[in-house]
């Protein structure tokens, strides 16, 4: 690691320490755990939560909902994004849907969904409605990023549709897929938890947060918030790891090739 990366890491660490300091200072100054518990109290509450029985079930349910809606967004958003990218008619048809999805406040989607569906389905549905436009717009733009000149080249050199898809369309659109997936994934976490808070299904991080808030267990609310942050960060990390996997495999393969050449 070189000097400048060290310095950036140091600055980030410093920022975290300052934030914790402000939190601790505020807790001391207010001197009321109901309003703002100290970081240590919150960590204590977190430790209790982890030991408490349906802890993993709450997490698994929320993660499950987030992943389900993310997969749905990814598939449906990609499908319609590609269609709309290729056809102006499909694009025109989908514009009103998109405008509604983008402009409706998250809370009204959740409230309406709660009237229509059971509490467990509401987070899924709301997250889908909020995340879908993000994925869709990225994929649609991705289609337009396919170079018409390269497309013409594939025509001249007699590429079959499958060969064109594999060697031109997918590589051209990959950055858009990644950006869309990343943006919709981080949105999904927030919407799923918000919907859980409002609808209080039996299990879920949001439900626990809501119950803690009702009982004025501020430390517990904060502890669940920390868990939500950790989940989002973990999701991002896993996503990044997934993206660097092909590159890693490629370097491994190249290394093996070099070894073969040397022998």
């Amino acid at each position: 690691m070189n000097r400048s990366t060290w310095i950036t890491k140091l600055i980030t660490a410093l920022s975290v320490i300052i934030l914790l300091g402000i939190w601790q200072g505020g807790a001391i100054w207010l001197d009321a755990a109901v309003i703002l518990p100290s970081p240590t109290t919150t960590l204590g509450a977190l430790a209790t939560l982890v030991r408490h029985k349906p802890f993993s079930l709450n997490i698994i349910t929320t993660v499950g909902r987030a992943l389900q809606s993310f997969l749905l967004i990814f598939m449906v958003g990609s499908f319609f994004g590609i269609l709309a990218g290729y056809s102006k008619k499909v694009h025109a048809f989908l514009v009103p849907v998109l405008v509604i999805c983008k402009a409706t406040p998250v809370m009204s989607v959740i409230l309406l969904a709660f009237i229509w569906f059971s509490s467990g389905t509401v987070p899924l549905f709301s997250a889908f409605l909020m995340g879908f436009p993000v994925m869709f717009v990225q994929v649609e733009q991705g289609v337009q990023l396919i170079s018409p000149r390269l497309r013409e080249m594939t025509e001249v050199y007699g590429f079959s549709p499958v060969r064109r898809l594999v060697h031109l369309v997918i590589p051209s659109m990959l950055p858009s897929f990644i950006t869309g997936a990343k943006a919709s994934l981080s949105m999904v976490w927030k919407v799923v938890i918000a919907a859980e808070v409002l609808t209080v299904p039996r299990y879920g991080v949001g439900s626990r947060m809501q119950l803690a808030q009702v009982h004025l267990e501020t430390a517990e609310v904060l502890a669940w918030t920390l868990i939500a942050i950790a989940l989002t960060a973990l999701g991002d990390l896993l996503f990044q790891a997934m993206l660097s996997l092909p590159k890693y495999i490629l370097t491994l393969r190249n290394r093996n090739r070099k070894v073969e050449l040397c022998n």
Binding site: R149, L150, E152, M153, V156, Y157, G158, R163, H167, P171
Partner: protein
């Protein structure tokens, strides 16, 4: 190859604007024919019609047997896939023609060698200079078993020295495999040094003004020769 009575135009606001009107041209098989004309006269459009990239309204394109089949097209830009290496770019177009990967790689390397790029086979296109990229696309076009070569000013946008090295790279490959070549340019000296036949074209709608046949072997041609000076003069009147 023969082009007979080709008409091609665009309809803009119910008005038919012809680019080519009843255009005919004969190209001797196995030769290089240069089409020289002012910018926007329709020579690129003609090339695109021959390359089946665009339809035309009427007329006929008649090819002799050895010109039938796949075509190689050199564009103004190299048009390489940026995510693949130079070698992969060339190998990819060979897939329908050679089943064995080893054969494809060997053929790709052989042609990269002919344009002096074998050391760069594993590089990505954006790691190369503009001239090198265009050389890759020349290697790709010749590695591809095309029966007809269509060149749309592929040596433009490069400095003079690079240009001549590309022209020479092209001619080296062409001499090994003399495919019927139609070459569009507005650079007169380049056309006179490369082509067997130089066709001088008018503005839109494009018509043939003159056809010059050059018998002097390519190695003996010089722009300073009185014959070539006289030929050049005809383009600047």
């Amino acid at each position: 190859m023969q082009l007979v009575g080709i008409t091609k135009g665009y309809t803009v606001a119910d008005l038919f604007l012809p680019v080519l009107q009843d255009f005919s041209l004969t190209v001797e098989p196995g030769t290089i024919t240069a089409l020289v004309g002012p910018s926007g006269c329709g020579k690129t459009t003609l090339l695109r019609l021959i390359g089946e990239l665009e339809p035309y309204q009427s007329g006929q394109i008649i090819k002799v047997t050895e010109e039938e089949g796949p075509m190689g097209y050199l564009f103004q830009e190299p048009r390489l896939l940026p995510w693949y290496s130079v070698l992969h770019n060339v190998e990819l177009v060979l897939r329908p023609w050679y089943d064995s990967k080893e054969k494809r790689i060997n053929r790709a390397l052989e042609f990269l060698q002919l344009v002096n790029l074998e050391d760069y086979a594993r590089f990505k296109p954006d790691q190369l200079s503009g001239g090198m990229r265009q050389r890759v696309s020349i290697a790709r076009a010749f590695a591809y078993p095309a029966r007809l070569m269509l060149l749309d000013e592929p040596f433009q946008n490069l400095d003079t020295q690079m240009r001549w090295s590309l022209v020479n790279a092209f001619l080296t490959l062409w001499k090994q495999d003399q495919r019927t070549t139609i070459y569009v340019t507005h650079d007169v000296p380049e056309a006179l040094l490369m082509a067997d036949t130089v066709v001088r074209l008018s503005n839109r709608p494009m018509q043939i003004l003159e056809t010059l046949t050059i018998d002097t072997p390519r190695e003996e041609r010089s722009l300073g020769d009185p014959q070539f000076i006289a030929m050049q003069a005809r383009f600047y009147t």
